[in-house]
Amino acid sequence: MVHLVVQISKYVMIFLMLIYTFECFYVFRYQKTEEERKAVFHIQRMLIFFLHFDAYLVLYLTTENFEIVAFYLSQLMLFATMILIYRMCYKASSDLLLNNMVLLMCIGLIMLTRLSYGKAIRQFIFMIVGTVIALIIPVILKKLSLFRRLTWLYAVIGIGLLGVVAVCGQTSYGAKLSISIAGISIQPSEFVKIIFAFYIAGMLYEKQNLKQLIITSICSAFFVLMLVASKDLGGALLYFITYLVMIYVATQKLYYFVGGFGLLAVASFIGSRLFSHVGTRILAWKDPLSVIDNQGYQVCQSLFGIGTGGWFGLGLNQGRPKKIPVVENDFIFAAISEEMGAVFALCLIMVCISCFFMIMNIAMKLKDNFYKLVAVGLATLYAMQVFLTIGGVIKFIPSTGVTLPLVSYGGSSLISTMIVFGVIQGLYIREASSKGGEHGKEKTVE
């Protein structure tokens, strides 16, 4: 009987996910009336709750751990509260972005509960903190307008924090990523990346002359070099691409973007020579089976999981994703693909793309140059991070050790991404209230 539920649920969850994903793009494609859009978003929310219920039903039946029921109900409460507050207080917010955020967090919690109950609980607590922050941010963005004037403060705080990590951070898997404050381990680079986007936006939203560009570049180089000094090369890559995109959007000069990639190629070549753990990761990427006993172990286990799971997955709690080292963090995508199926995993990528599209869409509509740049920067950070983590897990690119936003375990990563989504929602709401357009009407209702 349990087997039956597990196997049917496997297909049901894929089916729900497929409809959800379809609707993400369906809404984009056609100019629907506001009511029709709202209806689609409402269906999406229903799909999330069905998916959530089905997954926890399977988790409960396969573990027979009654605590999971209580845990499920707490999550249900959090998600419902979050959606409710957003819909009551921020009528002009983006429903799609909100739905996607809830879905991704929901998938993250499902997988973490399956992998490590303790970590899932911790993640849930961080989620509550993140929700509170994400709910406050739109208000702050609306009331305060000093963010564009703090440019140099961003630089000092950002580089300073990264410097602290480089000097006294804790080393894990060859890179210094975190510092410990009062027993809580924090990854400052997760938060500094938001500050970084604000910094570049602050530098370039008014003037884009050569002098301004040079100053911005030198200062950005310090950010990146601090990460290189911590051997956080995935992070360094993330910051560098964000820098390139923002420079390009600010100056409208494509050759900065293209030239930057040339620079990147040279830097990665030097990097692979200079840092032994980069060399080994590249080796593990080229032929993981040949070095399965050491450097290639993680990628091999990940691919074994994905391949063995196949298109429809093995079913929740039916695989062995724990074979993959740090599966809860950098390799959670492999666990999802193994147990929930590659079709589900592909849908997950599409949902991430939908998030990126939505943020870019919002960025495009913004009138304020400063926030326009901020939004582009955050969109790039998000997209690049998704690309680096999933690409690494499926061996499309060498693994760089970054997390899958909102899904992977890790408080810093989770809260920082929730801040990003909060900022974007804030900007969307802010634009709507200043414009008095279609969203403006809603504002008057508010």
Partner: protein, 477 residues
């Protein structure tokens, strides 16, 4: 003006959006590519511990010989207990292997194929939902049932190994290792097998490490030929039954005097004295390089487990060691598999095909799932070297140590060997490495080792002859 700037500015957004869309689509494309084309071979790796999960949902498939005999099958009892049956027990014990108490042989190599079901997918979903097991895929091997049986009988009670390969494709036609075990009762016998003295589980055909004895003279000859391409025909030696240099004496077999010999005579007679003399003339470092290029001291390019052949010579070595290595004694060790590969390469105009055991896999309804194709490993010998070795190996049959193979309906080529296992026991192993051809038949290459062949009624040559006789009188393949 303002409007124009705005639309212009949005062009960058389009570029960035498409840039990332492209990255994502490429990544998703790779993901789909991996799942449809690459994952199958990747997850077949024996390192993939997830494979065993499949036994919960799939009944292990059958292993069959090329001609359709079932070599391993799973029978399900009323209560769902599954028993793995090996109808031909000991005959195929090592090559087919076993799947309980660890795994070995094809049961290990093809574990995942056997545990995958490519039954019609709707049927699988129905089975999945009903909680019933699907039937796993069948693995069809390259093994020739008759040849395996003949090789098994030919070795009689002797320990040793026989391996036969089709040089033009790399298909392994038979693989026998003795002593053997009964895979049907391996669970009950496990304690005895583990505590027993002779390592019965060990596949001597692939993992055995034997002193090559005179078989090694193939390589000594080749090195001499490479160094003296124009003058090798002028080589001359007068054999008095033994050869002495710097207080080291090398004896010919039974101290037989071979008299006046050129290089071909020395090879055909397998004259130790002549080869000890010859070994002193060649560059040992170059010999080491030659051996390395012929897959010594490395893992063989195959999908199943094998032992590394070892040779270690250098110009700094003492004369005694140089002479001993030259005639195949000393510290040199080779596996029968390695030797059959090289014999096959000589037969196949110098080109080595990668040996393989799995012809194809099919689902339980006989629909093809995946097929193995012959893969060329590389050219091991140049055309003139092939010509030389064929002539010399023919001389061994026509006028040398393997004359039992002459005057048959087929043409045989080979090199015999009598290898001293150690100085103290006096145990000697009999080798035959060679190949044979006949109009209308695919050529076959063979390597035989008969351990401690005290009676001399069964030798490498007699075993090879039984296999050749049967193969070349059978139906056209």
């Amino acid at each position: 003006m303002e409007k124009k700037k705005q639309s212009n500015k949005n062009r960058e957004f389009t570029v960035i959006t498409y840039f990332f869309l492209f990255l994502f689509l490429a990544m998703m494309g790779y993901f789909v590519f991996f799942l449809t084309l690459k994952s199958e071979s990747f997850i077949n790796s024996p390192y993939n511990s997830l494979q065993d999960l499949f036994s919960e949902h799939v009944i292990r498939g059958e292993i069959r010989s090329a001609d359709g005999h079932v070599l391993a099958k799973t029978e399900v009892e009323e209560d769902g207990t599954e028993n793995r049956i090996y109808p031909y027990g000991r005959t195929f014990a090592h090559v087919v292997g076993f799947s309980t108490n660890g795994k070995a042989g094809l049961e290990k190599q093809a574990n995942f194929q056997l545990l995958r079901s490519h039954a019609f997918f709707l049927e699988q979903i129905v089975n999945d939902v009903k909680g019933e097991k699907s039937i796993g895929d069948h693995v069809i091997t390259t093994l020739d049932f008759d040849m395996q049986s003949i090789a098994y009988d030919a070795l009689s009670d002797y320990d040793g190994a026989v391996i036969v390969m089709e040089p033009s494709t790399g298909k392994i036609l038979c693989m026998v290792s003795k002593p053997t075990f009964n895979p049907n009762t391996i669970d009950q016998d496990w304690e005895d097998i583990i505590s027993g003295e002779s390592s019965v589980l060990f596949n001597r055909a692939t993992q055995g490490q034997y002193t090559p004895g005179s078989v090694f003279k193939i390589f000594t000859t080749l090195e001499y030929y490479r160094e003296n391409k124009n003058t090798y025909n002028n080589y001359f030696f007068d054999c008095k039954g033994k050869f002495n240099f710097e207080n080291k004496t090398i004896h010919c077999a039974s101290n037989q005097s071979h008299g006046e010999e050129d290089l071909m005579d020395s090879f055909a007679n397998s004259c130790n004295s002549s080869y000890a003399n010859l070994a002193l003339e060649i560059d040992q470092d170059a010999l080491q390089e030659l051996c390395n290029s012929l897959l010594f001291n490395m893992d063989l390019p195959i999908a199943f487990e094998s032992g590394k052949s070892k040779v270690n010579v250098s110009n700094d070595m003492g004369y005694a060691a140089i002479m001993e290595t030259g005639i195949g004694q000393g510290n040199t060790l080779v596996s029968p598999l390695h030797m059959v590969m090289l014999a096959g390469a000589i037969d196949n105009d110098g080109v080595l095909m990668r040996p393989y055991l799995i012809e194809h896999t099919e689902n339980y309804n006989g629909v093809l799932v995946s097929e193995n194709e012959s893969i060329e490993y590389g050219t091991m010998f140049s055309p003139d070297e092939v010509e030389l070795l064929r002539t010399y190996m023919s001389a061994v049959v026509e006028e040398g140590t393997a004359q039992k193979l002459s005057g048959q309906s087929y043409t045989a080529y080979g090199k015999t060997g009598t290898a001293q296992v150690s100085d103290t026991t006096g145990q000697e192993n009999s080798w035959f490495v060679g190949f044979a051809s006949k109009e209308g038949y695919e050529d076959i290459a063979i390597a035989v080792v008969v351990e401690d062949f005290s009676s001399k009624s069964i030798t490498g040559v007699t075993v090879a002859k039984k296999i050749f006789d049967s193969y070349f009188t059978g139906g056209v393949y």
